[in-house]
């Protein structure tokens, strides 16, 4: 499936009436709350029952930005090591990542650097990343400070939010910020590389992230 955008009117089945499609991934250690985060965003639902994700799954959500209809294909990945082969196969073509840790779990925070390396290894250079410290409703069990999270995000060049899928804190904002970052990067790429608008392959936009077909991103 094409990873990205502007396939309006093409293909069969499903709702093809959109201007852009962004492929996003949520990654991070097991049990940090990736699935709950996606359920909160896509279905506005939350359950405290823990079911470990098997392999990979996804949901679709449409958002609007500057009169553009953007379809988000959001992939929920299993955090366990045994699924690493299958999950990293889906990094290809992703335009954005939410890299999640659990503020009550030091190990999940310590793994952020490794996850960041995975993004660099298996994704393309222009992929945007937001670091999310989830479960911020559990203040009494906090072991990772807000400052530590923010500092690490700065070092890695990522945006940062503390979030709670349970209390619906910063969930929508995290996705909205990621979409903004992707749109900014698309506009920037178009400004610096006119070949993008003609669909010619470039060093910046490879086949893993199909080039734009419109002369500019106004999203």
């Amino acid at each position: 499936m094409a990873a990205t955008q502007d396939v309006k009117g093409k293909g069969e089945g499903g709702d093809q009436n959109f201007d852009y499609m962004f492929k996003l991934l949520i990654i991070g250690n097991s049990s940090v709350g990736k699935t709950s985060f996606l359920f909160r965003y896509a279905d506005d639902a939350f359950t405290s029952a823990f079911v470990s994700t098997v392999g990979i799954d996804f949901k679709v959500k449409t958002v609007y930005k500057n009169d553009k209809r953007i379809k988000l294909q959001i992939w929920d990945t299993a955090g366990q090591e045994r699924y690493r082969t299958i999950t990293t196969a889906y990094y290809r073509g992703a335009m954005g990542f939410i890299l999640m840790y659990d503020i009550t779990n030091e190990e999940s925070f310590g793994a952020v650097q490794d996850w960041s390396t995975q993004i660099k290894t298996y994704s393309w250079d222009n992929a945007q990343v937001v670091l999310a410290g989830n479960k911020c409703d559990m203040e009494e069990e906090r072991v990772v400070s807000v400052d530590s999270g923010r500092l690490l995000a700065e070092q890695l060049g990522f945006e940062f939010f503390e979030t709670s899928a349970k209390d619906n804190i910063n969930v929508k904002q995290t996705f909205e910020r990621l979409v903004d970052l992707i749109c900014d990067k698309m506009s920037e790429s178009l400004d610096t590389d006119p070949a993008v608008t003609t669909g010619a392959p470039t060093a910046k936009l490879t086949d893993s992230a199909p080039p734009l077909q419109q002369p500019g991103c106004n999203c």
Binding site: M1, G11, E12, G13, G14, D15, S30, V51, S52, V54, G55, I56, D57, F58, K59, V60, Q73, Q80, R82, Y83, T85, I86, A89
Partner: protein
Amino acid sequence: MTPGLGESMAMNLRTTSDSNPKELSVNSNILFLLALLQVFLMTYISESINYNLTDTFNCTSMTPEQRILLGADWVWAVLEKPTKNPRIQIAVQVLHLPEREAAKEDSYSPEACSESMHMAQMESSHRTMCERMVDFCASIGKDCYALFLFFGRKNDKANIYGVLSNNFQAAIGKCDKIDRGLIENFFKGSRYLHTPTGMLRAIITKREGEPLTLMIKFT
């Protein structure tokens, strides 16, 4: 257990309410198939509680999208203590008698598909459902088995048979494709049918990394 199966049933029930007679027939078949899966899973849940196995053994029903992407209807796991990470997994795909299998395929027709299911099909369209599950298991390793369950066979429509292997991928390259025909062929060369208990014993006592292929009869 994830809510996937329930969601799937609800979706098909909704489809039934505004369908034509042909679709009603297809949908009643789908409901029958889903009811069988539901019966199986409910039996599993009650048995695992009876035997106090909830900490050592679990079963995850796949979402409709995961069924298409990974080819599995559900995944059993023997859990490691105390991490509760899977130590052994058995991904199950149910194959029905050909006439019922047609109804199952129809359940993925464009009319019955949600947008995300359509996307999942696009993602996986170059491989058969059997191949997707074999690939999924192979991506995890030799401690993940693919189990194809036949709900009835031509000469015995009342019983359930299965072919289990952690080595189906060996067929890739040797055969045109991995499909029902190839899986059924395993019975032709087999004189011995394991019981479900025998199957579990063989899996647990097998040496790490060794291939294992078994035929099973569930009475």
